[in-house]
């Protein structure tokens, strides 16, 4: 084992035990023991950035909102989990309406809408979120009081995850709040209301968020149990 190959804990321990029971072996193998100890691999912390979680099972604790109207906060949704977990990150995804019963688009209309949404950017620009635990003061605040913040600033999309690191105790609940920002993108009144084109008002459905999902990435240190 002194030829450069890494030693295992078991190999070194067995050699040490053999030396401890035989004075002759102890003298003859002391050099080998030293070499094998030096060839032990690095500690977990040096090779795995999250070595403390190397038995963790994988959870996505989420809430789903459908058909969120543009001018009101959606009823909050609650996650209540029956085991202790570490919350490691939060992601969100929203879906808008591309087509409406009132207006059957052409393929060019559809492509134009897709390009419009690409210009608007992430779907997380279209809604705001906040979350709190057990009805207590939320984590999203302006320093003094809880606020709803644009999802683009507080959630990730899997590619750029927003990391979190807090422990959720068994039976604690996460309450997730959601408010649409569609009216700020497509005003319906005021000085600059948005129309579908010059003649046709933008259908009400165009301002509805069809589906919004917020998930918390969680790790449970125990092996997964049967649900």
């Amino acid at each position: 084992m002194s030829n450069g190959a890494p030693s295992s804990l078991a190999d070194v321990r067995m050699l040490a035990e053999r030396m401890s029971t035989s004075a002759v072996d102890a003298v003859q193998m002391a050099g080998q023991l030293s070499a094998m100890v030096n060839a032990l691999g690095p500690d977990r912390g040096a090779t795995l950035s999250r070595y403390r979680f190397d038995r963790a099972s994988l959870w996505s604790l989420g809430v789903s909102f459908e058909n969120v109207l543009p001018d009101e906060e959606a009823p909050s949704k609650v996650i209540r989990f029956n085991r202790d977990v570490w919350i490691r990150g939060v992601q969100a995804q929203g879906y808008q309406q591309f087509s409406f019963a009132e207006i059957q688009p052409t393929i060019d209309d559809l492509i134009e809408q897709e390009e419009l949404w690409r210009c608007i950017g992430s779907s997380r620009n279209t809604f705001e979120n906040a979350w709190r635990i057990d009805d207590r003061q939320g984590f999203i605040s302006q320093g003094q009081s809880e606020i709803l913040a644009p999802a683009a600033t507080i959630t990730g999309d899997g590619f750029f995850p927003v990391p979190l690191d807090w422990r959720l105790e068994r039976e604690q609940s996460i309450e997730v709040r959601l408010r649409s920002r569609m009216l700020s993108i497509f005003p319906s009144t005021g000085a600059s209301p948005v129309t579908f084109n010059n003649d046709v008002p933008l259908p009400a459905a165009a301002r509805v968020l069809r589906w919004v999902v917020v998930t918390f990435w969680a790790e449970e240190i125990d092996n997964p149990s049967i649900r």
């Binding site: 090779t47 989420g62 490691r88 995804q93 087509s99 019963a101 052409t106 790790e219």
Partner: protein
């Protein structure tokens, strides 16, 4: 475990043979404790994360969604698609998970071709890397545990909120054992943004996902 401490002990044993036996006993006790606690060495670290397991689904079509006034079919967080299993070939540490899909433009029943504009519209539907907003996913283990939930029910969520991309996989540290069965259910959600009946079939049909892949990047915890 303090490697430097052990190293100094072993060096002392080599330098003073009269104490070698006692020192060896001490080292053996430290290492036995370390092994009992799972060891400070990551099992199998020398084997590197060279393995990738993939769960794949082919030609996944959309399911009815209705519209925002009258949703039909299953909830968006459920699917009628069956789970696809993967039998775990060896003890492994899953270090990351990524998802990817490929949309394929579909022609309407009346027309036997699609136009380039329809192909473009199919690909431009996605605004997330690797098309992960076009499908939802639920990961499970051994047919009984599913890891997408609100605490009460099993849920499929958009892949962009469950897994990472190929460039930036979701970091995990999840140990699975040989012969366990990983599984995944997929749903094509590329029609979520379209109210049923609002698109003429000659205009656009929500795309098929000709391939959905869930990739698990794995460290082998067994000796090769």
């Amino acid at each position: 475990m303090l490697r430097s401490y052990l190293s100094n002990l072993a060096a002392s044993a080599a330098a003073d043979p009269s104490r070698a036996s006692d020192i060896a006993r001490h080292i053996a006790r430290i290492l036995a404790d370390a092994e009992a606690n799972g060891g400070d060495l990551p099992e199998g670290y020398i084997y590197s994360g060279a393995h990738t397991w993939e769960i794949q689904a082919d030609n996944v079509d959309v399911e009815p969604v209705g519209n925002f006034d009258s949703p039909v079919g299953l909830p968006l967080t459920d699917t009628s698609n069956q789970p696809i299993p993967l039998k775990v070939p060896f003890d492994g540490l899953i270090m990351g998970i990524a998802g990817w899909a490929q949309p394929q433009a579909v022609h309407s029943p009346d027309i036997d071709h699609v136009t380039l504009k329809q192909v473009r519209a199919s690909f431009c539907l996605s605004r997330v890397v690797d098309f992960r907003d076009l499908f939802s996913v639920e990961i499970g283990l051994d047919g009984t545990t599913t890891f997408g939930t609100d605490g009460n029910d099993r849920m499929l969520y958009p892949a962009s909120t469950v897994v990472g991309s190929r460039l930036s996989p979701r970091p995990t540290a999840w140990t699975v054992r040989r012969n366990q069965r990983l599984q995944a259910r997929f749903r094509n959600i590329s029609n979520v943004s379209f109210a049923d009946g609002s698109l003429g079939p000659d205009i656009f049909v929500p795309p098929l996902l000709s391939k959905i892949v869930l990739a698990f990047y794995v460290l082998n915890l067994e000796a090769p």
